[in-house]
Symmetry: C2
Subunit: 315 residues, 2 copies
Protein backbone atom coordinates (compact mmCIF):
# COMPACT_ATOMS: atom_id res chain seq x y z
CA UNK A 1 0.00 0.00 0.00
CA UNK A 2 2.91 2.37 0.70
CA UNK A 3 4.09 1.82 -2.87
CA UNK A 4 0.59 2.49 -4.21
CA UNK A 5 0.41 5.69 -2.14
CA UNK A 6 3.76 6.81 -3.54
CA UNK A 7 2.44 6.24 -7.06
CA UNK A 8 -0.66 8.27 -6.26
CA UNK A 9 1.54 11.28 -5.46
CA UNK A 10 2.59 11.39 -9.10
CA UNK A 11 -0.86 12.58 -10.05
CA UNK A 12 -1.33 15.10 -7.26
CA UNK A 13 -2.45 18.45 -8.59
CA UNK A 14 -3.19 17.12 -12.10
CA UNK A 15 -6.25 14.87 -11.87
CA UNK A 16 -9.06 17.13 -10.64
CA UNK A 17 -11.94 16.58 -10.42
CA UNK A 18 -10.92 12.92 -10.19
CA UNK A 19 -8.88 11.55 -7.27
CA UNK A 20 -5.15 10.96 -7.75
CA UNK A 21 -5.30 7.22 -7.12
CA UNK A 22 -2.31 4.87 -7.12
CA UNK A 23 -2.47 1.15 -7.93
CA UNK A 24 0.02 -1.70 -7.87
CA UNK A 25 -0.56 -5.36 -8.83
CA UNK A 26 1.50 -8.17 -7.29
CA UNK A 27 1.58 -11.86 -8.17
CA UNK A 28 3.89 -14.50 -6.73
CA UNK A 29 5.85 -11.78 -4.92
CA UNK A 30 6.53 -9.80 -8.10
CA UNK A 31 5.08 -6.46 -9.19
CA UNK A 32 3.33 -7.07 -12.51
CA UNK A 33 1.59 -3.73 -12.95
CA UNK A 34 1.66 -0.17 -11.66
CA UNK A 35 -0.52 2.80 -12.44
CA UNK A 36 -1.67 6.20 -11.30
CA UNK A 37 -4.51 8.41 -12.43
CA UNK A 38 -3.39 10.32 -15.50
CA UNK A 39 -3.50 14.11 -16.02
CA UNK A 40 -7.08 15.30 -16.48
CA UNK A 41 -8.36 12.36 -14.44
CA UNK A 42 -8.40 9.54 -17.02
CA UNK A 43 -7.44 6.76 -17.42
CA UNK A 44 -7.84 5.75 -13.80
CA UNK A 45 -4.98 4.18 -11.87
CA UNK A 46 -6.53 0.69 -11.95
CA UNK A 47 -6.99 0.79 -15.72
CA UNK A 48 -3.36 1.80 -16.21
CA UNK A 49 -2.08 -0.91 -13.87
CA UNK A 50 -4.30 -3.61 -15.40
CA UNK A 51 -3.19 -2.69 -18.92
CA UNK A 52 0.44 -2.97 -17.82
CA UNK A 53 -0.15 -6.34 -16.17
CA UNK A 54 -2.23 -8.02 -18.82
CA UNK A 55 0.62 -9.86 -20.50
CA UNK A 56 1.65 -11.35 -17.18
CA UNK A 57 -1.90 -12.36 -16.31
CA UNK A 58 -3.81 -10.72 -13.49
CA UNK A 59 -5.75 -13.84 -12.48
CA UNK A 60 -4.76 -14.88 -8.96
CA UNK A 61 -2.88 -11.66 -8.20
CA UNK A 62 -3.34 -9.10 -5.41
CA UNK A 63 -4.30 -5.56 -6.40
CA UNK A 64 -3.37 -2.73 -4.04
CA UNK A 65 -5.32 0.45 -4.72
CA UNK A 66 -5.40 3.60 -2.60
CA UNK A 67 -9.13 4.29 -3.13
CA UNK A 68 -12.14 2.03 -3.49
CA UNK A 69 -12.50 1.22 -7.21
CA UNK A 70 -15.23 3.25 -8.86
CA UNK A 71 -18.55 1.56 -9.54
CA UNK A 72 -20.37 4.21 -11.52
CA UNK A 73 -20.52 4.53 -15.28
CA UNK A 74 -18.97 7.50 -17.06
CA UNK A 75 -18.89 8.47 -20.72
CA UNK A 76 -15.13 9.01 -20.23
CA UNK A 77 -14.26 5.40 -19.38
CA UNK A 78 -15.28 2.11 -17.79
CA UNK A 79 -15.92 1.57 -14.06
CA UNK A 80 -12.82 0.17 -12.40
CA UNK A 81 -14.81 -2.33 -10.34
CA UNK A 82 -15.98 -3.91 -13.60
CA UNK A 83 -12.45 -3.93 -15.04
CA UNK A 84 -11.24 -5.76 -11.93
CA UNK A 85 -14.10 -8.28 -11.99
CA UNK A 86 -13.18 -9.08 -15.57
CA UNK A 87 -9.46 -9.41 -14.74
CA UNK A 88 -10.09 -11.82 -11.81
CA UNK A 89 -7.44 -10.96 -9.24
CA UNK A 90 -7.62 -13.14 -6.11
CA UNK A 91 -7.72 -10.17 -3.80
CA UNK A 92 -8.11 -6.38 -3.79
CA UNK A 93 -6.59 -4.34 -0.92
CA UNK A 94 -8.08 -0.85 -0.56
CA UNK A 95 -6.56 2.15 1.26
CA UNK A 96 -9.78 3.99 1.96
CA UNK A 97 -13.43 3.92 0.85
CA UNK A 98 -14.71 6.29 -1.82
CA UNK A 99 -16.83 9.11 -0.32
CA UNK A 100 -18.53 9.72 -3.70
CA UNK A 101 -22.11 8.48 -3.15
CA UNK A 102 -22.16 6.99 -6.65
CA UNK A 103 -19.47 4.50 -5.56
CA UNK A 104 -19.30 4.49 -1.74
CA UNK A 105 -19.48 0.82 -0.78
CA UNK A 106 -20.75 -0.25 -4.22
CA UNK A 107 -17.24 -0.82 -5.59
CA UNK A 108 -16.43 -3.22 -2.77
CA UNK A 109 -19.82 -4.94 -3.05
CA UNK A 110 -19.38 -5.57 -6.75
CA UNK A 111 -15.94 -7.14 -6.24
CA UNK A 112 -17.18 -9.38 -3.44
CA UNK A 113 -20.23 -10.40 -5.43
CA UNK A 114 -17.83 -11.64 -8.10
CA UNK A 115 -15.97 -13.79 -5.54
CA UNK A 116 -12.92 -11.54 -5.18
CA UNK A 117 -11.55 -11.16 -1.63
CA UNK A 118 -11.50 -7.53 -0.49
CA UNK A 119 -9.59 -5.90 2.40
CA UNK A 120 -11.02 -2.44 3.00
CA UNK A 121 -9.73 0.61 4.88
CA UNK A 122 -6.16 -0.61 5.18
CA UNK A 123 -4.54 2.89 5.36
CA UNK A 124 -7.33 5.43 5.69
CA UNK A 125 -5.30 8.34 7.14
CA UNK A 126 -2.41 8.04 4.70
CA UNK A 127 -4.75 7.54 1.76
CA UNK A 128 -6.87 10.55 2.70
CA UNK A 129 -3.72 12.66 3.02
CA UNK A 130 -2.42 11.51 -0.35
CA UNK A 131 -5.74 12.36 -2.02
CA UNK A 132 -6.55 15.34 0.20
CA UNK A 133 -7.85 17.48 -2.65
CA UNK A 134 -10.44 14.92 -3.68
CA UNK A 135 -11.60 14.27 -0.11
CA UNK A 136 -11.88 17.96 0.74
CA UNK A 137 -13.87 18.57 -2.42
CA UNK A 138 -16.18 15.63 -1.69
CA UNK A 139 -16.69 16.45 1.97
CA UNK A 140 -16.54 20.25 2.04
CA UNK A 141 -17.32 21.23 -1.54
CA UNK A 142 -14.10 23.20 -1.96
CA UNK A 143 -10.41 22.63 -2.73
CA UNK A 144 -7.89 21.49 -0.14
CA UNK A 145 -5.96 24.64 0.78
CA UNK A 146 -2.26 24.79 1.65
CA UNK A 147 -0.90 28.09 2.96
CA UNK A 148 2.79 28.66 2.44
CA UNK A 149 4.78 31.04 4.65
CA UNK A 150 8.52 31.67 4.46
CA UNK A 151 9.69 33.60 7.50
CA UNK A 152 12.59 34.55 9.70
CA UNK A 153 12.77 33.16 13.25
CA UNK A 154 10.82 36.23 14.37
CA UNK A 155 8.03 35.71 11.85
CA UNK A 156 8.97 38.35 9.30
CA UNK A 157 8.52 37.87 5.55
CA UNK A 158 10.40 41.00 4.48
CA UNK A 159 12.36 43.94 5.76
CA UNK A 160 10.51 47.19 6.33
CA UNK A 161 11.89 48.25 2.94
CA UNK A 162 10.08 45.33 1.32
CA UNK A 163 13.29 43.39 0.65
CA UNK A 164 12.44 39.69 0.80
CA UNK A 165 14.98 37.99 -1.49
CA UNK A 166 16.00 35.80 0.00
CA UNK A 167 14.90 34.82 3.44
CA UNK A 168 14.99 31.08 2.83
CA UNK A 169 17.80 29.27 1.04
CA UNK A 170 18.03 27.45 -2.27
CA UNK A 171 16.86 24.08 -0.95
CA UNK A 172 13.79 25.54 0.71
CA UNK A 173 12.91 27.50 -2.42
CA UNK A 174 13.25 24.38 -4.57
CA UNK A 175 10.93 22.53 -2.19
CA UNK A 176 8.41 25.36 -2.49
CA UNK A 177 8.54 25.01 -6.27
CA UNK A 178 7.83 21.30 -5.92
CA UNK A 179 4.78 22.19 -3.85
CA UNK A 180 3.61 24.42 -6.70
CA UNK A 181 3.92 21.50 -9.11
CA UNK A 182 1.68 19.47 -6.81
CA UNK A 183 -1.12 22.08 -6.82
CA UNK A 184 -3.88 22.54 -9.36
CA UNK A 185 -3.69 26.29 -8.80
CA UNK A 186 -1.79 28.89 -6.82
CA UNK A 187 -3.30 32.07 -5.44
CA UNK A 188 -1.73 35.36 -4.38
CA UNK A 189 -2.96 38.77 -3.34
CA UNK A 190 -2.39 42.01 -5.16
CA UNK A 191 0.81 42.99 -3.39
CA UNK A 192 2.51 39.68 -4.09
CA UNK A 193 1.19 39.77 -7.65
CA UNK A 194 2.74 43.19 -8.20
CA UNK A 195 6.08 42.10 -6.72
CA UNK A 196 6.38 38.52 -7.98
CA UNK A 197 3.93 37.81 -10.80
CA UNK A 198 6.54 36.87 -13.42
CA UNK A 199 8.09 34.28 -11.12
CA UNK A 200 5.00 32.44 -9.94
CA UNK A 201 5.77 29.32 -11.94
CA UNK A 202 7.57 26.03 -11.36
CA UNK A 203 11.28 26.38 -11.89
CA UNK A 204 12.54 22.84 -11.42
CA UNK A 205 14.26 20.74 -14.09
CA UNK A 206 11.67 18.63 -15.90
CA UNK A 207 8.72 20.21 -14.12
CA UNK A 208 8.47 23.54 -15.94
CA UNK A 209 5.31 22.29 -17.69
CA UNK A 210 3.69 21.63 -14.31
CA UNK A 211 3.12 25.30 -13.50
CA UNK A 212 -0.36 25.53 -12.01
CA UNK A 213 -3.23 27.85 -12.82
CA UNK A 214 -2.78 31.29 -11.37
CA UNK A 215 -5.40 33.00 -9.26
CA UNK A 216 -5.52 36.53 -7.88
CA UNK A 217 -7.43 37.50 -4.75
CA UNK A 218 -8.70 41.02 -5.32
CA UNK A 219 -12.00 42.76 -5.04
CA UNK A 220 -11.20 45.09 -7.91
CA UNK A 221 -8.18 44.12 -10.02
CA UNK A 222 -8.49 42.26 -13.29
CA UNK A 223 -5.34 40.95 -14.99
CA UNK A 224 -4.97 39.15 -18.29
CA UNK A 225 -3.99 35.52 -17.81
CA UNK A 226 -5.09 35.47 -14.20
CA UNK A 227 -8.43 34.41 -12.78
CA UNK A 228 -9.68 36.72 -10.08
CA UNK A 229 -11.51 35.83 -6.88
CA UNK A 230 -13.15 38.56 -4.82
CA UNK A 231 -13.14 36.53 -1.58
CA UNK A 232 -11.62 33.29 -0.25
CA UNK A 233 -15.04 31.64 -0.20
CA UNK A 234 -15.15 31.77 -3.99
CA UNK A 235 -12.68 28.89 -4.18
CA UNK A 236 -15.70 26.58 -3.88
CA UNK A 237 -16.70 27.52 -7.41
CA UNK A 238 -13.36 26.75 -9.04
CA UNK A 239 -13.75 23.88 -11.50
CA UNK A 240 -10.87 21.40 -11.73
CA UNK A 241 -9.09 22.86 -8.70
CA UNK A 242 -8.90 20.39 -5.83
CA UNK A 243 -5.42 21.35 -4.54
CA UNK A 244 -4.90 25.07 -3.98
CA UNK A 245 -1.66 26.66 -2.80
CA UNK A 246 -1.97 30.12 -1.24
CA UNK A 247 1.35 31.94 -1.45
CA UNK A 248 0.65 35.26 0.20
CA UNK A 249 1.12 37.95 1.15
CA UNK A 250 0.18 38.67 4.72
CA UNK A 251 -3.33 39.99 4.05
CA UNK A 252 -4.25 37.21 1.66
CA UNK A 253 -2.95 34.58 4.08
CA UNK A 254 -4.91 36.21 6.89
CA UNK A 255 -8.08 36.34 4.79
CA UNK A 256 -7.96 32.58 4.25
CA UNK A 257 -7.22 31.90 7.91
CA UNK A 258 -10.00 34.24 9.01
CA UNK A 259 -12.39 32.33 6.75
CA UNK A 260 -11.15 29.02 8.25
CA UNK A 261 -10.19 27.89 4.77
CA UNK A 262 -6.64 26.64 5.42
CA UNK A 263 -6.16 22.88 5.78
CA UNK A 264 -2.39 22.71 5.77
CA UNK A 265 0.35 25.13 6.72
CA UNK A 266 3.78 24.95 5.06
CA UNK A 267 6.18 26.94 7.20
CA UNK A 268 9.70 27.51 5.90
CA UNK A 269 11.88 29.18 8.55
CA UNK A 270 15.33 30.58 8.03
CA UNK A 271 17.75 30.89 11.00
CA UNK A 272 17.81 34.69 10.84
CA UNK A 273 16.33 37.56 12.80
CA UNK A 274 14.86 40.57 10.99
CA UNK A 275 13.30 42.71 13.71
CA UNK A 276 11.21 45.59 12.42
CA UNK A 277 9.80 44.43 9.10
CA UNK A 278 6.74 42.94 7.47
CA UNK A 279 4.73 40.42 9.47
CA UNK A 280 3.78 37.06 7.99
CA UNK A 281 0.11 37.51 8.76
CA UNK A 282 -2.43 40.27 9.00
CA UNK A 283 -5.53 40.10 11.18
CA UNK A 284 -6.85 36.53 11.37
CA UNK A 285 -9.77 37.52 13.58
CA UNK A 286 -8.43 36.06 16.82
CA UNK A 287 -10.34 37.32 19.86
CA UNK A 288 -8.32 35.56 22.58
CA UNK A 289 -5.32 33.28 23.00
CA UNK A 290 -7.56 30.45 24.13
CA UNK A 291 -9.05 30.44 20.64
CA UNK A 292 -5.58 30.09 19.09
CA UNK A 293 -4.63 26.84 20.79
CA UNK A 294 -5.43 23.40 19.47
CA UNK A 295 -6.01 24.44 15.89
CA UNK A 296 -2.76 23.11 14.39
CA UNK A 297 -1.00 19.77 14.66
CA UNK A 298 2.61 19.25 13.59
CA UNK A 299 2.40 16.71 10.76
CA UNK A 300 5.94 16.75 9.35
CA UNK A 301 9.26 18.53 9.80
CA UNK A 302 12.61 18.43 8.09
CA UNK A 303 15.72 20.50 7.55
CA UNK A 304 16.24 21.97 4.08
CA UNK A 305 19.81 23.19 4.23
CA UNK A 306 19.94 25.51 7.20
CA UNK A 307 16.21 26.22 6.96
CA UNK A 308 13.54 24.17 8.67
CA UNK A 309 10.28 23.15 7.05
CA UNK A 310 7.39 22.44 9.35
CA UNK A 311 4.07 21.18 8.03
CA UNK A 312 1.01 21.70 10.19
CA UNK A 313 -2.42 20.19 9.59
CA UNK A 314 -5.61 21.86 10.73
CA UNK A 315 -6.76 19.99 13.84
CA UNK B 1 34.90 14.68 31.62
CA UNK B 2 31.19 14.51 30.74
CA UNK B 3 30.45 13.81 34.41
CA UNK B 4 32.63 16.73 35.47
CA UNK B 5 30.83 19.00 33.00
CA UNK B 6 27.48 17.89 34.36
CA UNK B 7 28.69 18.75 37.88
CA UNK B 8 29.81 22.18 36.67
CA UNK B 9 26.24 22.95 35.57
CA UNK B 10 25.16 22.84 39.23
CA UNK B 11 27.02 26.08 39.83
CA UNK B 12 25.91 27.93 36.72
CA UNK B 13 24.58 31.35 37.56
CA UNK B 14 25.83 31.25 41.18
CA UNK B 15 29.63 31.47 41.12
CA UNK B 16 30.41 34.84 39.49
CA UNK B 17 33.01 36.21 39.21
CA UNK B 18 34.54 32.74 39.49
CA UNK B 19 33.99 30.03 36.88
CA UNK B 20 31.47 27.27 37.58
CA UNK B 21 33.99 24.43 37.46
CA UNK B 22 33.19 20.74 37.91
CA UNK B 23 35.63 18.12 39.20
CA UNK B 24 35.55 14.35 39.65
CA UNK B 25 38.28 12.08 41.05
CA UNK B 26 38.57 8.43 40.00
CA UNK B 27 40.80 5.69 41.38
CA UNK B 28 40.77 2.02 40.41
CA UNK B 29 37.64 2.62 38.34
CA UNK B 30 35.70 4.09 41.25
CA UNK B 31 34.60 7.69 41.81
CA UNK B 32 36.17 8.78 45.10
CA UNK B 33 35.38 12.49 45.00
CA UNK B 34 33.10 14.95 43.26
CA UNK B 35 32.86 18.72 43.52
CA UNK B 36 31.63 21.88 41.89
CA UNK B 37 32.36 25.51 42.60
CA UNK B 38 30.12 26.66 45.43
CA UNK B 39 27.78 29.67 45.46
CA UNK B 40 29.75 32.90 45.60
CA UNK B 41 32.69 31.22 43.90
CA UNK B 42 34.39 29.46 46.86
CA UNK B 43 35.40 26.78 47.65
CA UNK B 44 36.54 25.81 44.18
CA UNK B 45 35.44 22.54 42.61
CA UNK B 46 38.84 20.87 43.07
CA UNK B 47 38.94 21.73 46.78
CA UNK B 48 35.47 20.25 47.28
CA UNK B 49 36.34 17.07 45.39
CA UNK B 50 39.69 16.65 47.17
CA UNK B 51 38.05 17.10 50.56
CA UNK B 52 35.50 14.43 49.71
CA UNK B 53 38.20 12.04 48.49
CA UNK B 54 40.73 12.45 51.28
CA UNK B 55 39.61 9.45 53.30
CA UNK B 56 39.97 7.20 50.25
CA UNK B 57 43.38 8.61 49.38
CA UNK B 58 43.93 10.70 46.28
CA UNK B 59 47.49 9.46 45.62
CA UNK B 60 47.56 7.56 42.33
CA UNK B 61 44.11 8.71 41.20
CA UNK B 62 42.98 10.57 38.07
CA UNK B 63 41.41 14.00 38.52
CA UNK B 64 39.01 15.23 35.83
CA UNK B 65 38.44 18.98 35.99
CA UNK B 66 36.60 21.16 33.47
CA UNK B 67 39.02 24.12 33.74
CA UNK B 68 42.76 24.39 34.26
CA UNK B 69 43.35 24.49 38.06
CA UNK B 70 44.08 28.00 39.29
CA UNK B 71 47.69 28.91 40.06
CA UNK B 72 47.27 32.35 41.59
CA UNK B 73 46.99 33.14 45.27
CA UNK B 74 43.81 34.63 46.68
CA UNK B 75 42.95 35.80 50.18
CA UNK B 76 39.75 33.76 49.80
CA UNK B 77 41.42 30.36 49.51
CA UNK B 78 44.36 28.30 48.30
CA UNK B 79 45.40 27.83 44.67
CA UNK B 80 43.99 24.58 43.33
CA UNK B 81 47.23 23.68 41.53
CA UNK B 82 48.95 23.66 44.92
CA UNK B 83 46.20 21.57 46.51
CA UNK B 84 46.57 19.01 43.72
CA UNK B 85 50.36 18.93 43.97
CA UNK B 86 50.00 18.21 47.69
CA UNK B 87 47.40 15.47 47.10
CA UNK B 88 49.57 13.67 44.47
CA UNK B 89 47.13 12.28 41.92
CA UNK B 90 48.81 10.33 39.12
CA UNK B 91 47.10 12.36 36.41
CA UNK B 92 44.99 15.47 35.87
CA UNK B 93 42.69 15.67 32.84
CA UNK B 94 41.61 19.23 31.94
CA UNK B 95 38.64 20.30 29.81
CA UNK B 96 39.97 23.67 28.72
CA UNK B 97 42.76 26.07 29.66
CA UNK B 98 42.09 29.04 31.93
CA UNK B 99 42.04 32.34 29.97
CA UNK B 100 42.78 34.32 33.17
CA UNK B 101 46.36 35.60 32.63
CA UNK B 102 47.14 34.94 36.30
CA UNK B 103 46.72 31.21 35.69
CA UNK B 104 46.82 30.59 31.91
CA UNK B 105 49.35 27.80 31.46
CA UNK B 106 50.79 28.24 34.93
CA UNK B 107 48.41 25.76 36.53
CA UNK B 108 49.43 23.05 34.08
CA UNK B 109 53.14 23.93 34.45
CA UNK B 110 52.99 23.67 38.22
CA UNK B 111 51.37 20.22 38.07
CA UNK B 112 53.89 18.94 35.55
CA UNK B 113 56.80 20.36 37.54
CA UNK B 114 55.58 18.23 40.43
CA UNK B 115 55.66 15.09 38.29
CA UNK B 116 51.89 14.82 37.75
CA UNK B 117 50.81 13.76 34.24
CA UNK B 118 48.51 16.33 32.61
CA UNK B 119 46.16 15.97 29.63
CA UNK B 120 45.06 19.44 28.51
CA UNK B 121 42.26 20.69 26.29
CA UNK B 122 40.27 17.44 26.29
CA UNK B 123 36.82 19.05 25.73
CA UNK B 124 37.35 22.72 24.93
CA UNK B 125 34.04 23.45 23.19
CA UNK B 126 31.87 21.69 25.77
CA UNK B 127 33.83 23.18 28.65
CA UNK B 128 33.58 26.70 27.21
CA UNK B 129 29.84 26.26 26.76
CA UNK B 130 29.40 24.99 30.32
CA UNK B 131 31.32 27.98 31.72
CA UNK B 132 30.17 30.47 29.06
CA UNK B 133 29.67 33.28 31.56
CA UNK B 134 33.24 33.13 32.81
CA UNK B 135 34.73 32.92 29.32
CA UNK B 136 32.65 35.78 27.97
CA UNK B 137 33.62 37.91 30.95
CA UNK B 138 37.30 37.04 30.50
CA UNK B 139 37.35 37.53 26.74
CA UNK B 140 34.85 40.33 26.17
CA UNK B 141 34.64 42.03 29.56
CA UNK B 142 30.89 41.53 29.86
CA UNK B 143 28.37 38.85 30.86
CA UNK B 144 27.26 36.06 28.56
CA UNK B 145 23.82 37.12 27.33
CA UNK B 146 20.92 34.79 26.61
CA UNK B 147 17.85 36.29 24.96
CA UNK B 148 14.60 34.47 25.56
CA UNK B 149 11.66 34.76 23.17
CA UNK B 150 8.35 32.90 23.44
CA UNK B 151 6.37 33.28 20.25
CA UNK B 152 3.62 31.91 18.09
CA UNK B 153 4.49 30.31 14.74
CA UNK B 154 4.12 33.74 13.15
CA UNK B 155 6.48 35.43 15.60
CA UNK B 156 3.97 37.15 17.85
CA UNK B 157 4.47 37.53 21.60
CA UNK B 158 1.00 38.87 22.37
CA UNK B 159 -2.32 39.72 20.81
CA UNK B 160 -2.92 43.33 19.77
CA UNK B 161 -4.80 43.68 23.07
CA UNK B 162 -1.63 42.77 24.95
CA UNK B 163 -2.91 39.34 26.00
CA UNK B 164 0.10 37.03 26.24
CA UNK B 165 -0.91 34.40 28.82
CA UNK B 166 -0.24 31.90 27.68
CA UNK B 167 1.40 31.42 24.35
CA UNK B 168 3.64 28.57 25.43
CA UNK B 169 2.52 25.63 27.53
CA UNK B 170 3.36 24.50 31.05
CA UNK B 171 6.45 22.49 30.10
CA UNK B 172 7.99 25.36 28.14
CA UNK B 173 7.29 27.78 30.97
CA UNK B 174 8.90 25.43 33.50
CA UNK B 175 11.96 25.21 31.27
CA UNK B 176 12.12 29.00 31.10
CA UNK B 177 12.07 29.12 34.91
CA UNK B 178 14.98 26.68 34.99
CA UNK B 179 16.87 29.04 32.69
CA UNK B 180 16.22 31.83 35.19
CA UNK B 181 17.73 29.70 37.95
CA UNK B 182 20.86 29.29 35.83
CA UNK B 183 21.35 33.05 35.38
CA UNK B 184 23.07 35.47 37.75
CA UNK B 185 20.59 38.15 36.72
CA UNK B 186 17.55 38.68 34.52
CA UNK B 187 16.79 41.88 32.68
CA UNK B 188 13.55 43.28 31.30
CA UNK B 189 12.39 46.54 29.81
CA UNK B 190 9.80 48.87 31.21
CA UNK B 191 6.80 47.38 29.46
CA UNK B 192 7.56 43.86 30.65
CA UNK B 193 8.34 45.21 34.11
CA UNK B 194 4.96 46.90 34.28
CA UNK B 195 3.14 43.79 33.08
CA UNK B 196 5.09 41.00 34.79
CA UNK B 197 7.31 42.35 37.60
CA UNK B 198 5.75 40.28 40.39
CA UNK B 199 6.31 37.04 38.50
CA UNK B 200 9.93 37.46 37.44
CA UNK B 201 11.21 34.84 39.85
CA UNK B 202 11.91 31.12 39.77
CA UNK B 203 8.80 29.09 40.40
CA UNK B 204 10.10 25.54 40.44
CA UNK B 205 9.97 23.17 43.42
CA UNK B 206 13.22 23.42 45.36
CA UNK B 207 14.58 26.28 43.28
CA UNK B 208 12.60 29.21 44.65
CA UNK B 209 15.74 30.47 46.42
CA UNK B 210 17.56 30.57 43.07
CA UNK B 211 15.72 33.65 41.80
CA UNK B 212 18.32 35.84 40.13
CA UNK B 213 19.02 39.54 40.55
CA UNK B 214 16.58 41.72 38.69
CA UNK B 215 17.64 44.41 36.26
CA UNK B 216 15.57 47.00 34.45
CA UNK B 217 16.57 48.57 31.15
CA UNK B 218 15.30 52.12 31.21
CA UNK B 219 16.76 55.52 30.58
CA UNK B 220 14.49 57.14 33.16
CA UNK B 221 12.70 54.75 35.50
CA UNK B 222 13.96 53.91 38.98
CA UNK B 223 12.26 51.14 40.93
CA UNK B 224 12.96 49.94 44.48
CA UNK B 225 14.53 46.49 44.49
CA UNK B 226 15.59 46.72 40.88
CA UNK B 227 18.91 47.84 39.45
CA UNK B 228 18.56 50.07 36.42
CA UNK B 229 20.69 50.14 33.29
CA UNK B 230 20.34 53.00 30.84
CA UNK B 231 21.75 51.05 27.89
CA UNK B 232 22.69 47.44 27.03
CA UNK B 233 26.38 48.34 27.03
CA UNK B 234 26.20 48.98 30.79
CA UNK B 235 26.10 45.23 31.43
CA UNK B 236 29.92 45.36 31.30
CA UNK B 237 29.92 47.15 34.64
CA UNK B 238 27.75 44.64 36.49
CA UNK B 239 29.74 43.02 39.28
CA UNK B 240 29.05 39.34 39.94
CA UNK B 241 26.92 38.92 36.83
CA UNK B 242 28.47 36.57 34.29
CA UNK B 243 25.26 34.93 33.06
CA UNK B 244 22.52 37.37 32.05
CA UNK B 245 19.06 36.39 30.82
CA UNK B 246 17.19 39.04 28.82
CA UNK B 247 13.46 38.35 28.96
CA UNK B 248 11.94 41.14 26.89
CA UNK B 249 9.95 42.84 25.63
CA UNK B 250 10.39 43.51 21.95
CA UNK B 251 12.23 46.82 22.30
CA UNK B 252 14.61 45.57 24.98
CA UNK B 253 15.38 42.43 22.98
CA UNK B 254 15.99 44.57 19.89
CA UNK B 255 18.27 46.93 21.81
CA UNK B 256 20.53 44.03 22.83
CA UNK B 257 20.55 42.60 19.30
CA UNK B 258 21.26 46.01 17.80
CA UNK B 259 24.23 46.34 20.17
CA UNK B 260 25.40 42.82 19.16
CA UNK B 261 25.23 41.79 22.78
CA UNK B 262 23.32 38.51 22.45
CA UNK B 263 25.32 35.28 22.60
CA UNK B 264 22.51 32.77 22.78
CA UNK B 265 18.91 32.78 21.66
CA UNK B 266 16.29 30.68 23.47
CA UNK B 267 13.28 30.43 21.20
CA UNK B 268 10.13 28.80 22.58
CA UNK B 269 7.51 28.38 19.84
CA UNK B 270 3.93 27.35 20.35
CA UNK B 271 1.99 25.70 17.48
CA UNK B 272 -0.47 28.58 17.17
CA UNK B 273 -1.06 31.48 14.81
CA UNK B 274 -1.90 34.93 16.16
CA UNK B 275 -1.93 37.24 13.14
CA UNK B 276 -2.19 40.92 13.96
CA UNK B 277 -0.49 41.33 17.34
CA UNK B 278 2.75 42.31 19.01
CA UNK B 279 5.97 41.40 17.24
CA UNK B 280 8.77 39.60 19.07
CA UNK B 281 11.36 42.17 18.09
CA UNK B 282 11.59 45.87 17.39
CA UNK B 283 14.20 47.43 15.12
CA UNK B 284 17.47 45.50 15.32
CA UNK B 285 19.21 47.84 12.88
CA UNK B 286 19.24 45.49 9.92
CA UNK B 287 20.07 47.27 6.66
CA UNK B 288 19.74 44.32 4.27
CA UNK B 289 18.86 40.62 4.25
CA UNK B 290 22.43 39.74 3.39
CA UNK B 291 23.44 41.08 6.79
CA UNK B 292 20.91 38.82 8.52
CA UNK B 293 22.31 35.53 7.27
CA UNK B 294 25.04 33.56 8.97
CA UNK B 295 24.66 35.15 12.37
CA UNK B 296 22.92 32.25 14.15
CA UNK B 297 23.69 28.57 14.36
CA UNK B 298 21.18 26.02 15.65
CA UNK B 299 22.80 24.55 18.77
CA UNK B 300 19.99 22.53 20.32
CA UNK B 301 16.32 21.74 19.81
CA UNK B 302 13.71 19.76 21.65
CA UNK B 303 9.97 19.43 22.07
CA UNK B 304 8.49 20.66 25.35
CA UNK B 305 4.96 19.32 25.23
CA UNK B 306 3.50 20.64 21.99
CA UNK B 307 5.94 23.58 21.97
CA UNK B 308 9.37 23.48 20.40
CA UNK B 309 12.47 24.95 22.00
CA UNK B 310 15.27 25.97 19.69
CA UNK B 311 18.58 27.25 21.01
CA UNK B 312 20.72 29.31 18.66
CA UNK B 313 24.30 30.38 19.29
CA UNK B 314 25.76 33.55 17.81
CA UNK B 315 27.95 32.49 14.90
Amino acid sequence: MAAALALSERGRGRTAPNPNVGCIIVRDGRVIGRGWTQPGGRPHAEAVALAAATAAGVAGSTVYVTLEPCAHYSPRGPACADLLVAARPARVVIGVGDPDPRTAGKGVARLRAAGIAVSEGMAPAAARAAMAGFFTRQEHGRPHVTLKLATSLDGRIALASGESRWISGAQARAHAHLERARADAILVGRGTFAADAPSLDVRLPGLADRSPRRLLLSRTARVAGWETLAAPEEISGLAHVDQLLVEGGADTAAAFLRARLVDRLLLYRAPILIGAGRAALGDIGLASLADAHGRWRLADARMLGSDRLEVYAAA
